[in-house]
């Protein structure tokens, strides 16, 4: 797992990462839109459809979910409750924010590790999707995404130590 805790600011690396995320999200989303609309067209006009399209769409949904989750970690907008921290004094709030982010990073890292083992196992068994494609290639998004999420929470730690950390956003959405 990567663990270079660098400041998540607006440097070139940050801009590049954001751009890559946006590009991948756009590609996956528009692939879903195009393919599903094409399926509807085929069904309502010709009464048929592409045999592989439904499975491809389901895999695209998984990819959009995991890529979206990575982007949500960068923007720090994952769904949360956050009832207590807004009533805590600033120092306490910083301390709990560090604990909370370390916890999120730890859980994501463990999920990344076991996702990787899951992918390695399906690779060994030679599972296939979409006809003859190896399934592990599509499942690989799980370990990759959880690794990036873990990294994101670690990389975000330094901002809690800066003098005027921005207040947390609204909890939902």
């Amino acid at each position: 797992m990567e663990s270079r805790p660098e400041v998540a600011g607006s440097g070139p690396a940050e801009r590049l990462g954001r751009r890559v995320e946006n590009a991948l999200l756009g590609i996956v989303l528009f692939a879903m839109i195009g393919l599903s609309a094409y399926q509807v067209l085929l069904r309502s006009v010709f009464g048929g459809g592409l045999a592989w399209a439904d499975e491809a769409l389901r895999l695209l949904v998984l990819w959009s979910a995991m890529l979206g989750a990575v982007a949500a970690s960068r923007d720090n907008v994952h769904l949360r409750i956050d009832l207590l921290s807004r009533f805590l004094p600033t120092n306490w709030r910083r301390a709990t924010a560090v604990v909370v982010d370390l916890f999120a990073a730890g859980v994501s890292a463990i999920l990344a590790w076991y996702s990787w083992r899951f992918v390695a196992e399906t690779r060994e068994f030679g599972d296939q999707v979409l006809g003859t494609w190896p399934a592990w290639g599509f499942q690989a998004i799980l370990p990759v995404a959880f690794t990036l999420i873990a990294y994101r929470y670690l990389a975000g730690l330094p901002r809690h130590f800066r003098p005027s950390s921005p207040p947390a956003g609204l909890d939902a959405a």
Binding site: E21, N22, L25, G26, L29, M32, I33, S36, A37, Q39, V40, R43, D54, L57, R58, L59, V61, L62, S64, A65, M66, L67, G68, A69, V70, A71, A72, V77, H78, L79, R80, I81, D82, L83, L84, S85, T96, A97, V99, V100, F103, A104, V107, S108, I110, L111, Y114, S115, R117, F118, E121, F138, Q139, L142, P143, A168, L170, D171, A172, A173
Partner: protein
């Protein structure tokens, strides 16, 4: 076990992301029972084995594009032209437009920002008191989640494994009931001020229709398609998103191509957040069923609660509490799997339970002191939260009565269903 649960709850209220909380719970649970922990990613991969989930990114993106356009303004103009001339008509315009807009955009906060902002000055100008207006736009912002293509109902259907089409049918009467309750209250409260906002004018109706001619077919096609069963939900989502893109980007050109990457990101970030906790909760639910948590919960509840009526009252109280601390999507994935078997024990139909769930959660958004919509409204209209709370209170009471009716008269939800 109790200590770890407490630690997780503490981390949750301190603001840890819910996917990490649920994930930790699932990992710890499986580890304790000696199950290989690759079970967790295998369950998350279940996202790719649930076809209906496709509807979530598509509808969410379509909703975000719609809220970027001036669709809200056109919708308000058209309904004002059609029903604004009635006594108390503008208040009804507010109720109707908010419901439709929320059904299509999903997030009730968005409705307050997009439609409330248009209606607030118009209502005050038409002679409604500022306080009444504030309460009306705040509470109308959470109507509409019972109508197709509401995302919370779709997610409930996925988790509870019941037909989403049936849920949409079941939501019609309760949703209309909540709208009518608010509209009736508006009429009664403003019985002294029944001055219609304007004369009825064919010219204005024609103008408004011409302006929104491209968007008008959308609700007809989508709602008609879903309710008639011609479209599966994810097919309706595909049609909606293509339609919305063509209309807003190519015809009205109100959403610029340059804005598109940002809209894609904002909507997919929300989708990622929802689907991630949904996927992880597939794992935690599986663990809880293995560990017979629902059975234990049933035993515990049946020891203290003997009849259906007290169970339903308890359920509403619990959902209201949950509704004001949890986002509706998180609440669905966390609570529904545990609630379903218990409710079944008391003879509550799973479809009816879904309607109760969403209707009550809508109300939870408004509940002082922490309901999210109160804060969105306070922020948007620049009023103190306390003032928003007080202004919204009568509306909350009305909606609460509606929720009670929906809960205790199952026929409201189930009558339209084909056996």
């Amino acid at each position: 076990m109790i200590l770890t649960s407490l630690a997780l709850v503490l981390l949750a209220v301190l603001g840890a992301p819910l996917f990490a909380i649920i994930g930790a719970g699932a990992l710890l649970g499986f580890a304790r029972t000696g199950v290989d922990l690759t079970a967790v990613p295998i369950e998350i991969f279940g996202i790719a084995e649930t076809p209906i989930l496709l509807a979530i990114p598509l509808f969410t993106f379509a909703g975000f594009v719609l809220s970027e356009s001036r669709a809200a303004a056109r919708l308000v103009r058209l309904s004002a032209a059609l029903i604004g001339w009635l006594p108390g008509g503008l208040a009804m315009v507010a109720v109707a437009t908010c419901s439709l807009f929320t059904a299509f955009t999903g997030g009730s906060g968005v409705t307050i920002i997009a439609i409330g902002a248009l209606l607030f000055p118009a209502l005050v100008q038409a002679g409604y008191s500022e306080r009444f207006t504030l309460g009306l736009v705040t509470s109308s912002g959470s109507l509409g989640l019972l109508f197709a293509p509401s995302l919370p109902l779709i997610i409930y259907g996925i988790i509870a494994e019941v037909s989403i089409d049936s849920l949409f049918l079941a939501g019609i009467v309760p949703g209309v009931l909540m709208m009518l309750a608010l509209a009736a209250f508006c009429l009664w409260r403003n019985r002294e001020n029944r001055r219609p906002m304007a004369e009825f004018s064919w010219q204005e109706v024609r103008g408004a229709i011409r302006e929104s001619i491209w968007e008008l077919p959308l609700p007809v096609v989508v709602l008609g398609g879903i309710y008639s069963g011609y479209f599966a939900v994810s097919e309706a989502a595909a049609v909606t998103v293509v339609y919305v893109l063509v209309v807003e980007l190519l015809i009205y050109r109100e959403v610029s191509w340059r804005r598109l990457p940002a809209i894609v990101r904002e909507s997919m970030v929300l989708v990622g957040g929802i689907l991630l906790i949904l996927g992880i909760s597939l794992a935690s639910t599986n663990y809880m069923i293995d560990a017979q948590v629902p059975q234990q919960l049933i035993e515990l509840v049946t020891r203290y609660v003997t009849d259906q009526t007290s169970f339903l009252l308890l359920l509403i109280a619990f959902l209201l509490l949950i509704g004001c601390i949890l986002h509706i999507f998180s609440a669905l994935v966390l609570v529904v799997p545990l609630m379903l078997p218990v409710a079944a024990k008391y003879g509550v139909d799973p479809i009816h339970l879904g309607i109760i769930f969403v209707a009550t959660m809508e109300l939870g958004y408004l509940l002082p002191p922490i309901g999210l919509n109160l804060y969105i409204s306070s922020y948007r209209f620049n009023k103190p939260v306390l003032e928003v709370c007080l202004a919204t209170l009568p509306f909350i009471l009305i909606l609460f009565v509606a929720v009670l009716l929906i809960t205790f008269i199952p026929a409201l939800s189930l009558a339209l269903l084909p056996n």
